[in-house]
Amino acid sequence: QDLTPVTFGTNWVAQAEHGGFYQSVADGTYAACGLDVSILPGGPQVNNQAMMLAGRIDFYMGGHLDAYFAVQEGLPIVNVMASFQKDPQVLMTHPGKVSSFDQMTDLTMIVQDAVAYYEWMKAAYGFNDAQRQPYTFNSAPFLVNKDSAQQGYLSSEPYAIEKETGWAPDVWLIADAGYSGYSTTIQTKLDVVEQQPEVVKCFVEGSILGWYNYIYGDNSAANDLILADNPDMTQDKIDFAIKAMLEHGIVDSGDTLELGIGAMTEERSKQFYDTMVEAGVLPEGVDYAKAYDLTFINKGLGMDLRPE
């Protein structure tokens, strides 16, 4: 049987957050429905989204907001599945420094340039530009300044800081603070959905099953692939990430309990859009519904794989 080759570009170097996809590559779930999936890791500055737009790769690991931006700009991009119900973006503070998200407004915020969630934080919590200092993926300024908070990725920076300094920073998920976007979506171009729905279907369903197997089943084969793609990954770190994903309900919580992993809903999409409009990130009147296609998800696929 001839397999259709497709390439999936991720948003970062191989890590546990990409585990579901590696899982299905490893155990042949994709191959079973006719796809030969190769995963193209991203990295700092590697722009796999542009590669997808240019038609060089088929799927991209996108986000919720960038699909809205795409619609606003008239780009033919659509999300067909959301691996993460919660954005794993966090803010970290020194232990005991603050007791809630809104107390961070007095701190120096070490946050990357031009990220949208900071706009949202400004609108929703009253942060401002003057207190922000750019994050250049080095935690030293945060570590020496007790009056600062730094962005991070749930499983990366907190892990690194705890491992190297011996103390664990307090971690504040922006998702828990009200930033309701999905994350780690499967993004593709409209024409792919229109012309090759069976490919999209296979890839989405394979990925859904992959995620169930990865977080609840035997994930060693997938982890081997991750370790091979990223020689600097360690088992330790993968374990930490999986634990964190489970603990915070990143992959499987809320809607997925009824609709299955990968779920997206109209309401939440609208609610997120409204939040972004309020924050001034997006203008009114964007046809945000164009940014997602629910055809391939919300069918409860794989829910039987979840342990009781």
């Binding site: 542009a50 737009l53 240019a54 960038d66 931006f69 795409a70 606003q72 700009e73 008239g74 780009l75 340039d113 031009a114 990220v115 949208a116 530009d129 003057a130 922000r132 200092q133 750019p134 250049t136 993926f137 080095n138 030293a140 300024p141 020496v144 300044n145």
Partner: protein
């Protein structure tokens, strides 16, 4: 005299042809580059059309231009901030580069001892050490300038050092004979001799200062002064506003060309009286 004399200046076809060619060249000097620029833009446009490239990959020049006009308010403000940092960075690069070069020329030991550090500064990825800088330097402005300086100073240092060493040996001897002290020698002989080299370095550093300003903003932020073009480019990238990103890039490119033209002009004016590279030959 051996030959008969005419009654006035002689003109003929040959002469006229030469004069005409000169006039044409005078005009072509400006027309040709503009034509090529136009051609390049036209080709860019055709490239997009022929290959059906979507505007979110590579927008057509017209679209970029209209975006530039539309977003001029935001972009011009950011440009101003980037220009400000660039100007200051270039100034410190000149001061730092020439200062170090002078120090090196005053003492071979200084050169042997400190040029490795200059090289280390040049090659160290600024992104990696910027956080360190900002831990220990309170003032954002100073840190910003430091970053931009690190990017831009080296060509000035290297070229000026070379220039200071290239002073004519006979003139060196003259200075020795007139018992010029170290500073006089520097002031009256070595600095003028180094001028063409320094100005060559300045041409390189002008562009690097702009890069430095962009990089510095990227690694250090602009703090209170507002957002520069680096921020705009990143933002437009995140928001998939590719035409806007290109508009910002074009602003940077134009700024670079203007800086280059300015430094070239300065160089020409400073050297046209005496240096081979700028002399107009008869």
């Amino acid at each position: 005299m051996c030959e008969g004399r005419g009654t006035g200046p002689l003109f003929d076809a040959d002469e006229e042809r030469r004069a005409r060619r000169k006039r044409i060249e005078e005009v072509a000097k400006y027309i040709v580059p503009l034509a090529i620029l136009a051609l390049a833009i036209w080709y860019w446009d055709r490239l997009v059309v022929w290959n059906d490239i979507e505007p979110y990959i590579l927008p057509r020049p017209g679209l970029v231009l209209s975006t530039l006009i539309k977003d001029w308010g935001t972009l011009s403000q950011s440009l101003l901030i980037t220009l400000q940092i660039t100007g200051m960075a270039l100034a410190v690069a000149v001061i730092g580069g020439v200062g170090l070069a002078v120090l090196f020329s005053l003492s071979r030991f200084a050169e042997m001892s400190f040029s490795p550090f200059a090289v280390i500064l040049q090659v160290t990825p600024i992104v990696s050490i910027a956080p360190l800088i900002f831990i220990y330097i309170e003032s954002r402005m100073i840190g910003l300038l430091l970053c931009a300086w690190i990017v831009a100073f080296f060509p000035i240092l290297a070229n000026t050092t070379l220039g200071l060493k290239s002073a004519d040996h006979n003139l060196q001897d003259l200075m020795t004979i007139y018992k010029a002290n170290r500073w006089q020698r520097l002031r009256y002989l070595q600095l003028p001799s180094a001028l063409p080299y320094f100005l060559g370095g300045l041409k390189i550093a002008g562009g690097l200062a702009l890069i430095g300003a962009v990089v510095a903003e990227y690694v250090a932020g602009t703090g209170g002064i507002g957002t520069g073009l680096a921020f705009r480019i990143l933002e437009a990238g995140y928001r998939l506003q590719i035409p806007r990103m290109f508009a910002a890039l074009i602003l940077i490119a134009v700024t670079g060309v203007v800086i280059y033209a300015t430094t070239s002009l300065i160089s020409h004016l400073a050297l046209r009286k005496w240096h081979e590279s700028a002399l107009k030959r008869e």
